[in-house]
């Protein structure tokens, strides 16, 4: 059986949530396979991330290089190529850094690439069987990857349960020498621009009335703001609404927007992509209104209404107004 490696994201010396998920993803591939965490960075923050990884993984490989103080996928890629053994399975999280690093890495390792995997069905001969989703989660697929030259996999954050016990006592091995010197970079990090806070801070809202592409037209936003007013809710949205510049970026819920923790979340005309749902934390009571009864959002919601929001929301508003008198 192939060795499995898990790439650990970390920030301010702390391992990312996905570090606790990839160990369970690895177990789903093959519970017997040896699993090694790979942690790249520099200095004391790297060391504390490695100690945390050693509680989750039986073995930890550390890549310490000043050039990785801000981790740049273009710098890490050749270093990983130098140390990942031929034929290994390498797991990374499917988020902005994994998407930056992994596809090119699979080419350089001459390995197969399995993007955005939500589940594994194990290894059969020299094939790794996995499950993916297509069309924003509307259908699933079984996929088979040829394992003979190794496989790079990005695993969807949240798809595997985290390892709650994390009771390993892994040894940290310094692989910085084998990883080699930092390459001359054709892409150089400059700075990070932090998102502006908008007129409402949806991360603090208790009730969110959230709208998606189902609102169809900018003029229809009025319906939502009117209803939000009578409910005492704030208005948030999915990404296409921000892309269209109908609402400001600070109202976007999701992995590339805000993480919200309301008591009640009402998703209107939102299909329920994992990037959107990834921004909803703290298990709120979720209501979904969507005209497609098969929309994936109904899997995440507590209560669903199959309806056209352009008709339903004004009627709901009227009823609440009547109630309040």
């Amino acid at each position: 059986m192939a060795e499995i490696f898990a790439y650990i994201l970390h920030k301010d010396g702390k391992a990312d949530d996905t570090a606790y998920e990839l160990i369970n993803a690895a177990a789903k591939i093959d519970p017997e396979a040896p699993v090694t965490a790979v942690v790249a960075g520099s200095g004391s923050e790297l060391d504390s991330a490695c100690s945390e990884a050693a509680k989750i993984y039986p073995a930890v490989w550390k890549i310490d290089n000043e050039a990785l103080a801000y981790v740049n996928a273009e710098a890490v890629r050749p270093m990983l190529v130098n140390i990942i053994p031929k034929g290994a399975v390498l797991l990374l999280p499917h988020e902005h850094f994994g998407m930056d690093l992994a596809p090119g890495l699979s080419i350089k390792l001459d390995a197969a690439y399995l993007p955005d995997v939500v589940d594994f069905e194990g290894v059969e001969g020299s094939t790794l069987n996995a499950i993916r989703e297509e069309f924003s989660g509307m259908v699933s697929t079984h996929v088979a990857a040829d394992l003979s030259g190794g496989v790079v996999v990005t695993v969807r954050p949240g798809a595997f349960a985290p390892d709650e016990d994390a009771a390993a006592s892994g040894e940290v091995v310094d692989k910085s020498g084998d990883a080699g010197a930092a390459p001359a970079l054709m892409r150089r990090y400059l700075e990070t621009l932090v998102a502006e806070v908008g007129e409402v801070d949806i991360t603090k809202s208790e009730i969110l009335l959230s709208i998606g592409r189902g609102i169809e037209d900018e003029e229809n936003l009025e319906i939502v703001f009117d209803l939000a007013k009578v409910m005492g809710a704030d208005v948030s949205c999915s990404r296409p609404i921000v892309d269209a510049k109908w609402l400001e970026k600070s109202r976007q819920v999701g992995t590339s927007g805000q993480t919200v923790k309301p008591k009640v979340y009402i998703a209107c005309g939102i299909s329920g992509s994992f990037q959107h749902l990834g921004g909803i934390k703290g298990s709120p009571f979720i209501v979904a209104v969507n005209k497609n009864p098969k929309a994936p959002i109904f899997q995440a919601a507590d209560v669903g209404v199959a309806a056209d929001i352009l008709e339903f929301l004004p009627e709901l508003q009227e009823a609440i107004e009547e109630l309040k008198g």
Partner: protein
């Protein structure tokens, strides 16, 4: 600046319900409305805006069957200068690497400074751009939501990272970028625009024109194969409120009051 934009023809999933065929071999395609992949449309718009600012040309290329031509033509109606249609039976069943191999051969026949792809397409992979860059040994940046041309050797790009933050990078040309939605507002293409390019010749290239060995692309070269489509055994999911609209609203208000959803 010579810019190549890679585009894909996909079923429009915001317009269609996507259903699996009875035997799981495919999705039901008969009544689907197809269009250009959403992300690719932003990439083409960005390329046109860069060209209009600094000069050069925009070429749109797509790997796909006969019908793909209409998508290339639509993007030319937006303002792209050239279209190239990569079509060959040998491409059938390509995985991401097969597509990147095909596009690499095309890139090597030209001299592009900037190559744009979408961040992802209908199958949500987000793989072709990064693979293509690695094959060409060009630098790559994913999820780009800002491009500023510095000079003819380098550009500045913003990458979208978590929490709505933006990571700024300087990147040498030639390079490959995958474009995120929201980077611009793609222009509207009307009937008149389409008519203007209706008779423009779009060259078709196959494996022999590209000098690719048919065995390294298509199903023959694929290391990753889709075995079937299915609808997963669903968990319980939401409790669907049924009845007349009035009854649904009454029930919903009750639930919202109980959960603190109405102040």
């Amino acid at each position: 600046m010579e810019i190549l934009v890679c585009v894909k023809r996909v079923p429009d999933s915001s317009e269609n319900e996507i259903e699996v065929k009875g035997d799981g071999t495919d999705i039901e395609r008969d009544d689907l409305v197809y269009s250009v992949n959403e992300w690719d449309n932003y990439a083409v718009e960005e390329a046109i805006q860069i060209r209009d600012k600094v000069g050069g040309t925009v070429t749109v290329a797509s790997v796909g069957d006969e019908e793909t031509e209409e998508v290339i033509r639509r993007e030319m109606a937006m303002g792209a200068d050239n279209g190239i249609h990569l079509m060959d039976d040998a491409f059938e069943g390509s995985d991401g690497k097969g597509l990147a191999t095909t596009l690499k051969a095309l890139v090597e026949q030209g001299s592009y400074d900037l190559i744009l792809t979408g961040a992802q397409a209908d199958d949500g992979a987000g793989q072709v751009g990064g693979m293509l860059a690695a094959m060409l040994d060009y630098p790559f940046a994913s999820l780009v939501n800002l491009i500023e041309v510095v000079d003819d050797k380098k550009i500045k790009v913003g990458r979208e990272i978590a929490g709505g933050n933006q990571e700024m990078n300087e990147i040498d040309l030639p390079c490959v970028l995958s474009i995120q939605t929201g980077i611009n507002e793609p222009r509207y293409v009307g009937i008149r625009g389409i008519r203007k390019v209706a008779s423009v010749e779009i060259p078709v290239k196959g494996v022999s024109d590209l000098g690719i060995d048919a065995g390294v692309v298509g199903a023959a070269g694929a290391k990753v194969k889709r075995l079937d489509y299915f609808v997963p055994e669903l968990g319980e999911g939401a409790e669907m409120l049924e009845g007349s609209t009035e009854e649904i609203i009454e029930k919903l208000i009750e639930l919202l009051k109980a959960k603190g959803g109405i102040k």
